[in-house]
């Protein structure tokens, strides 16, 4: 079984070129005349969905993408509104990290805000629609209590108390019109279990100044690994802003890839890094010129890793299929028993959030167990 690759025809033309705008060496080509109205709307919507509207504006402004005056005004106005939303989220983030600080909860800001300010030449090129914060596993329950005490609401209950802290990626909390993903690790499932979580906290992280306030993000190497996780496992078809994140970080890492390779090997996640970097090079049309990119393109994952990657390279991945894979990957029998017990006999509030009846839950469970078994 070969690793399933995301095909170029998942992206309307010239979306891939837009996602590469400003990247040196990309071979993606541009149209030589403005798009017709229907094609323009399709590309504009796709750019929004792939969170590359900032790159679309930049491509139009620089003349790389020919556009009519109306198209130019249209995309600028839309991107301005997106940026207002992004800045509003950043102000909310400042409140959240201030709250965690006041309660002595160590944290790192993940993804959107951190990457936009640390890895892009201009943060306006990177948009996002929610917030992501990492806390230590042992502080996870306290962080949830502090945030729910401040008005955040969990989108789903835990199957059993302590489940999120022990087994899940984290939890999603609803704020005032936005979602806050509170993480203890990068991802649900077998790939999440491989992360040596203490490595994420071993250094002081990276500082990023947002609206006059200094906040902490992951350091360069762990931020890159997280970007690879998100690019390779996050969305299907692969989200272009995630690939662009990887491309921006690859430029910064250059030939100093030793620490990243060492960390990925120690965690056992080289297949993720290789998939993310190889897909970034392939879809963004970048020649693999650095040592890291050459290694990634040549990397052949094991059959077991291919199967684990396949849990994510599908448009209809679900919690249950990943839960089964997680069960098989848990190292200790005691953890397997606790995990299985929580999912088979969860608290009523958890079931009520997900399924309308016990029968519906049973049918869903059988279907997903079959899918999870098939992807072993």
């Amino acid at each position: 079984m070969a690793r399933r690759q995301c095909a170029e025809d998942n992206y309307p033309q010239p979306l891939l070129a837009i996602a590469t705008h400003g990247l040196p060496g990309s071979t993606r080509t541009w149209p030589d005349a403005p798009l017709d109205d229907e094609s323009w709307r399709t590309v504009r919507r796709a750019a929004r969905s792939h969170r590359v509207t900032g790159l679309l504006v930049a491509a139009v402004d620089d003349g790389a993408l020919p556009a009519t005056a109306a198209q130019s005004r249209d995309v600028r106005a839309r991107h301005a509104r997106t940026m207002v939303r992004v800045m509003s989220l950043e102000q909310e983030l400042i409140g959240i990290v201030g709250l965690l600080d006041r309660h002595g909860i160590d944290h790192r800001v993940l993804k959107g805000t951190a990457v936009a300010h640390l890895d892009y030449a201009d943060p306006a090129l990177r948009s996002f629609i929610d917030l992501d914060v990492l806390v230590r596993g042992e502080a996870f329950d306290q962080a949830v209590r502090v945030l729910t005490g401040a008005g955040f609401v969990r989108t789903l209950m835990e199957p059993r108390p302590g489940f999120d802290r022990r087994f899940d990626k984290g939890t999603t909390l609803l704020g005032r019109g936005y979602e806050l993903d509170l993480h203890r690790t990068f991802v649900l499932g077998p790939w999440g279990l491989l992360i040596e979580l203490e490595d994420l906290w071993r250094d002081g992280g990276a500082e990023v100044v947002v609206a006059g306030r200094t906040i902490r993000a992951l350091s360069r190497d762990t931020r890159f690994l997280h970007a690879c996780y998100h690019a390779a496992l996050g969305d299907w078809p692969l989200r272009l802003s995630s690939l662009r994140d990887v491309a921006e970080m690859l430029r910064r890492i250059g030939d100093d890839a030793g620490p990243v390779r060492e960390l990925a090997a120690r965690w056992g996640v080289e297949a993720i890094v290789a998939a993310a970097v190889a897909d970034t090079c392939r879809l963004l049309g970048i020649a693999p010129e650095t040592e890291l990119a050459r290694w990634a393109v040549a990397y052949v994952p094991s059959r077991r890793d291919e199967a684990k990657l396949a849990l994510h390279t599908t448009a209809d991945k679900t919690f249950a299929a990943q839960a089964l894979a997680t069960l098989m990957a848990l190292p200790r029998l005691r953890d397997k028993a606790a995990y299985l017990g929580a999912l088979v006999m969860p608290e009523p509030a958890y079931v009520g959030d997900r399924h309308p009846s016990a029968l519906a839950r049973f049918r869903y469970g059988i279907r997903e167990v079959k899918r999870g078994w098939a992807s072993r």
Partner: protein, 84 residues
């Protein structure tokens, strides 16, 4: 003088600057020479520096640049966007 930091964010969108002022729950867009001056005001500047920069960038005489700078600073000040 310089821009206020707390409760305010900005982003470049094309040649404009989009500003979000959370303290007053509003956003505004500044273009042209205003966007240029706004960018300079992320660090402490005096009026003369701004006038000279505007003359150099837009090739205008000092009197015109001075009027533009004064008008822009008055707008920023009345919007509460300058630090105290």
């Amino acid at each position: 003088m310089r821009l206020r930091e707390n409760g305010m964010s900005s982003r470049q969108v094309g040649g404009d600057v989009v500003i979000l002022d959370m303290e007053n729950s509003r956003y505004l867009t500044v273009g042209g020479s205003g966007a240029f001056l706004f960018d300079l005001l992320h660090v402490e500047r005096d009026r003369d520096e701004l006038v000279r920069a505007l003359c150099d960038e837009f090739d205008v005489d000092e009197a015109t640049a001075g009027r533009d700078v004064d008008a822009f600073l008055t707008e920023l000040s009345s919007a509460g966007l300058l630090s105290a």
